[in-house]
Amino acid sequence: MPNASDTLRTSDRWLPLGGAGLLVVAILVFPSLAPNPYILSTGVIVLNWAVLATSWNFVGGFTGYLSLGHGALAGLGGYATGLLVAKADLPSFVALVVAALLVAALAIPIGFAALRVRGASFVIVSIALVLILLLVFQSWSSLTGGSRGLVVPRPFPGMLRPEHHRVFFFLFGGLLLLALLTWWLLDRSRFGMGLKAIREDEDKAESLGTPTFAYKLTVFVVSAAFTALAGGLYALWFGDLDPVFQFSVLTGSYIVLMALLGGVRNLFGPLLGALIVGIALEYFKVQFGNSPLHLVTTGLLLGLVVMVMPDGVIPSLVSVVRRLRGREQSSIRELSAADLAERRRRERAEARS
């Protein structure tokens, strides 16, 4: 049977730990292995995507609300950080944290409006959010520099480019680990279970006593905070903000694509998706040199993922592996109650020994 149980079996405890260990090693080692600064900066970009996708997955994976507007939250984080450094003279990393808190606070009224509706209306709202922020940030040139963009002063002014990339690689890596840890804790918690109940059947969850709106809003704010941190860190690293790129539905959909591809119900799913898509995007950029064809390839990739494996890569791989192993059966109905009882007795005996 497809065992979707969250019960902490041995595999559930070792897999995240092992994966995290591998990740930490990879993060520590990569900068030394990178052959040139360009590859290192690509690594920074991919890590940025990984944080964004994992942060998105707080809402998408747990509640099932698929937001196409997280690009807006990242953009807000970027601009808030940038403005706080450029105009309010705050030290870079203080600005980063303050910006994230501001965006988290802003996420409350946004969530209030957006989470009252579901399904199609929610998607429409999330897209509208990006578009209206794009409009506002483009038009309000006195504050934001409008279409000319905003230059964000670097946090480490004297630093050379390769070192700069290196430092930010570690910073993003740290942020990613923090996001993954938070996701993992949430996944195991009762709060997380309530969220998953919302995903399965929101009205039923509410009728069982889960305060669904409060839960949705809370996880949305947490997601917004992490997304804003990623956006702000990017602003500090990249140094130049443009509304068209910061408030982009395209960004939002890349995030969704990455999370879906990797698998929204898994801890490392969004990371995996970010690796695959992020590297692919950079590759397309090199190949097609910013020609519009990279839009075509992105569209085709997105379409493929949706039509072929909407559960994501990890779950599809897992089911393939299971089928190869021949252990599992496809439906519980094929086993009689007696067989099941026998099997459970056997499994319990094995676990005890």
Partner: protein, 242 residues
Amino acid sequence: MTLRTNKLRKAFGGVVALDGVDVEFRPGKVNALIGPNGSGKTTFFNCVTGMIKPDTGQILYGGKDLTGRAPHVVARAGVGRTFQLCRVFPRMTAVENVLAAVRPGGLLHGLRGAHRRTETERAHRWLTRLGIEHLADAEARTLSWGQQKLLELAGVLMAEPRTILLDEAAGGVNPALLDRIGALVRELNAEGRTFVIVEHNMDLVMSISDHIVVFDRGRPIAAGPPALIRADERVLGAYLGV
């Protein structure tokens, strides 16, 4: 804890589903809510449990005003409910379905693990009592209709409600399961839980209820013990459309 409503009214556009319902259910007893199709029974449940807001009127539970409150508030007040078209969490396992009913007492409580031993054991006990413990790790969507009904009930019971609303618990189940459900209701009632069951199966209603309320066209037309209701002409008239 008495559940009663005062002049409860709900209209959907031109259709009046509840037409000023004044009703009081006997605490600690098995109450049945019967009536022909379209008489407003499910709308009544939906209003009481907060899924729909009534237009006017009051819903009182143990003296507390629950009118227009959100479903989770009603649930926390101690009112549980099953659905006509049995609702379970499809991709969660049976035991997870039941565990989902445990409500965190606050923020910190909610951040703790979902599978604390005491609760998991309690969940398994409910599954055992309802006879589906062997399906604990099966995904709910792979269960048969009857098994899902039992699972839904297990989840509701896990939340420890004092009053349970059953919406057509006997709908679409085989006679053996029907008997089992009837026996369960009597058992659980004997342990102190109040029941309000919406039912079409008259044998079940007559055999397990202590108090019956009859709805017709959005309002109660008769109330009393089974013997009385069985002989009531108005009830017959409502069902036969006379």
